[in-house]
């Protein structure tokens, strides 16, 4: 079944802008969310100690979590907007693979994660793999 409104061909800069908006908002959102979850602690342990309500309370009372979710929501609406104009086979792999690299850089700078050779190699392999998968 074909879609009644097939994706239109957008220009290079419009396409780049739509994908860049997804990458930027998603990266900020994911770094903020990861920082929030690290500050909260292991959710499995919190749930074992205070139950599911305790785990949910720990998450929803963290301001950093809401900042992260706000940026992830912006990223989500950027994705919806891009999907309305571009094909999934372009938007999903391009945003997913590039976000992987920007997240690795941001995690090293802002979260001080130990992004060793193993993780850089994995990021590049996955990035190239997603590119191949999309073509």
């Amino acid at each position: 079944m074909t879609a009644p409104f097939p994706a239109a061909h957008s220009g290079f800069w419009a396409t780049t802008g739509m994908i860049a908006a997804i990458i930027l908002t998603s990266t900020i959102g994911e770094v903020l969310t990861a920082a929030a979850m690290k500050s909260i602690g292991d959710l499995d342990e919190i749930r074992a100690h205070s139950g599911m309500k305790g785990a949910i309370r720990a998450v929803v009372t963290c301001p950093l979590f809401f900042a992260g979710v706000s940026f992830l929501a912006l990223g989500f609406f950027s994705l919806l907007f891009a999907l309305n104009h571009l094909e999934l086979s372009l938007v999903a792999p391009a945003s997913a693979s590039l976000t992987l690299v920007t997240n690795a850089i941001a995690a090293k700078i802002f979260l001080h994660e130990n992004v060793d050779h193993r993780r850089w190699t994995a990021a590049v392999l996955v990035c190239v793999g997603v590119y191949f998968l999309a073509h």
């Binding site: 499995d44 992987l100 793999g129 191949f132």
Partner: protein, 153 residues
């Protein structure tokens, strides 16, 4: 960096992270391509789109993804969890090949291989960056002092 190994349950949560995201994205794509083109002049149309069946199903799957993703981030690094989300592309391609009997080109098999090797690289490594605790920092300082004293003698 200490070697943090994962339990079977934690691998299950990473599996949900990998599975729910691409399935949710596929539902969103199906829903959004069946809608008329939305312009920036009418952003309200994007909110209205949320209540259509395919978009709603996509959002339900993405909520499942987000719950598993948050749980995973509470015990693993962001750079450890992220390749799991990319592994979802491999799962979708394998579904397409063995369930829908779609043809997969050599290029796509190479892509599947690269992602699998990349995820394997990360999964074999430590899941969490070791942070120095006040106790471990104190112990390290005591050891350093003892070494300096020994060298002075």
């Amino acid at each position: 960096m200490a070697h943090h190994t994962l339990t079977l349950r934690q691998y299950g949560i990473l599996g949900l992270v990998a599975l729910c995201a691409p399935l949710g994205d596929t539902c969103l794509s199906r829903g959004m391509t069946s809608l008329p083109h939305i312009s920036l002049a009418h952003p309200g149309s994007l909110v209205a789109a949320v209540f259509t069946p395919w978009i709603a199903l996509g959002i339900a799957l993405l909520i499942g993804f987000f719950a598993s993703y948050l749980t995973a981030l509470s015990w693993a690094d962001l750079t450890f969890v992220l390749p799991a989300t990319a592994f979802g592309n491999v799962i979708v391609a394998l579904f397409a090949r063995f369930w829908l009997h779609e043809a997969i080109s050599v290029q796509r098999w190479i892509g599947i291989g690269l992602i699998t090797i990349g995820v394997g690289f990360v999964a074999n490594g430590p899941s969490l960056t070791e942070r120095p605790t006040p106790e471990s920092a104190e112990k390290a300082a005591r050891v350093e002092e003892a070494v300096e004293e020994g060298q002075a003698r």
